[in-house]
Amino acid sequence: MNPASTDPASTDPGAPVIELDGLRREFVVRSGRGLRRSRRVVAAVDGITATVRAGESVGYIGANGAGKSTTIKMLTGILVPTSGRVRTCGFEPVPQRTQLARRIGVVFGQRSQLWWDLPLRDSFDILAAIHRIPADRARPRIDQLVEGLELGALLATPVRQLSLGERMRGEVAAALVHRPALLVLDEPTIGLDMISKERLRQFLVAERAEQGTTLLLTTHDMSDIERLCDRVLVVDHGRIAYDGSLEGLGERVAMERVLVVDLAEPRPPLELSSARHERSELDGARQRFAFAPDRTTAAQVLAEIAGQAEIRDLRITEPAIEDIVRTLYTGR
């Protein structure tokens, strides 16, 4: 065993921060009523083995219900595994929950850790105290986070009056007050507008560069992964379906963009050399074309379509995580 993994304080680059070994969690699902009542055991996480090392930035992706949040709850000590082993920052998460909580910061995108009725500033002060950080050491850190996340104008505002994007920046600051070695973000950009998302990503890049924080992130937004992560774990039906770089994932699955064009009049499916016709809608007045951005550009595809038909409107969509996971099995 690597001695570094037994030292809870260790954050040497390359030391394991998260170790999952055959991790499994079952839930009992009850359905029906009365005599027809049935009881079924479902494994939300079904034998996950993976190691995340200090300084890594890992995107943890999968469809809804794939087991992402359940894994996160187990590695943060909130949920007890049914079987298998988990160590986070060298701790056993459930029995050593409070020691572990000092070393990690967690943002659950759909929950809040802020004091709803009090000014935002108060939440930071209380959290610093909960983490036993003396006020003279907490102040410069809070100032730094307030500046980095542009929260200065919001400090006196009660949290319940903040917009979603403002609150989410507050949540991230709250999770970082104690300079955690590991930051876990569960859907941090869900529901945010483009500008809020981008601000948050820029901050996280800068924060990681400065503090060397290990990052584990779940998201439905591939741009989060592209901007923030150097490794991707794809989970599907509770198992790891892919573990490697984003580029490597792109080689295995169709990371295709889809160009949707509305034509001036209905047409039979157009044949293009730069893109593949996916399907037609509205009797052919709307057609969808999939193209690989590493082999061609949207402009090329567009030019080719324009050569054959008159375009009225267009839209480009990002690949959905669900589609990526599906093509992992079927190939391109």
Partner: protein, 266 residues
């Protein structure tokens, strides 16, 4: 350092509660109106009993009612399901992600809540009741500090019981039914509707076998001077014993419940 974080949690809850000013005013009004209703009912009973019932004369009956109306919000005689609701919604994960004991942090918050409600709902009602109907105040100066301690213990016993009942949510998704049933039993046996001393004998035995009189009747008895000197110390001692026992019990339940917890939602 360790105490500071609990003090901060306490003061945060104190301030949080103070943001609901309209609710506080409505609470004072309701408590006062109900105080008058309860006083007229109890006065009728005392007069019907020939001027005394269960050792309560008119002045003592008035004290019992006004102290009760003043203590009901701080001790919290209502449905409390903060933890159960957070387990049900999944918000509990935010609490569990902090390096602090869940029960201790909720206790600190509950004391902050009780502090604000004592000052804003308790004191005005005592003043109003004292002015409009009259209160019998204790003659021994010891009754005041001991009364305050007894009230603090009553609030804490109430909290530990409420927290313990909320732990049912770790086993079942819907703990509300249990909490409502608990509230009814607690309200009756604590001496909240009627003083425990005027219960039929068998019900007094049942009541004293439960922690409920220690959360409500005891502080009223100590503050009103119904029990004094050694008897008052004994009352506070019984409260301390209940608190200790309940802390141990809820601790065991909590540790077992943690293993059962199924956090809802993504």
């Amino acid at each position: 350092m360790t105490v500071r974080r609990y003090l901060l949690l306490m003061s945060a809850e104190f301030r949080r509660q103070s943001t609901y000013r309209l609710a506080l005013v409505a609470g004072i009004f309701t408590n006062t109106v109900f105080g008058f209703l309860r006083i007229s009912a109890l006065f009728a009973a005392v007069r019907g009993g020939g001027g005394s019932i269960g050792g309560y004369d008119l002045a003592q009956a008035a004290s019992y009612v006004w102290l009760g109306q003043a203590f009901m919000a701080p001790v919290y005689m209502f449905l409390w399901q903060d933890v159960a609701v957070r387990v049900r919604s999944g918000e509990i994960v935010s609490d569990l992600a902090r390096p602090i004991d869940l029960q201790a942090s909720y206790w600190a918050r509950d004391l902050g809540r009780a502090g604000l409600q004592f000052l804003t709902r308790g004191v005005p009602i005592l003043a109003l009741g004292g002015l409009l109907v009259g209160l019998s105040l204790p003659t021994s100066p010891w009754s005041y500090p001991l009364g305050l301690l007894s009230l603090l213990l009553g609030i804490s016993i109430s909290f530990v019981c409420r927290f313990g009942m909320n732990l049912i949510a770790f086993w079942t998704v819907d703990a509300r039914g249990f909490l409502i049933l608990y509230g009814f039993v607690m309200n009756v046996l604590s001496g909240f509707y009627l003083p425990v001393a005027i219960f039929p004998d068998w019900l007094q035995v049942v009541a004293h076998a439960s922690p409920f009189p220690a959360m409500f009747q005891s502080p009223i008895d100590v503050v009103s001077g119904r029990v004094v000197d050694l008897a008052a110390l004994r009352t506070v001692g019984i409260q301390l014993a209940w608190l200790t026992g309940l802390l141990v019990l809820t601790r065991v339940v909590f540790v077992r419940g943690r293993r059962r917890l199924e956090v809802q939602g993504g």
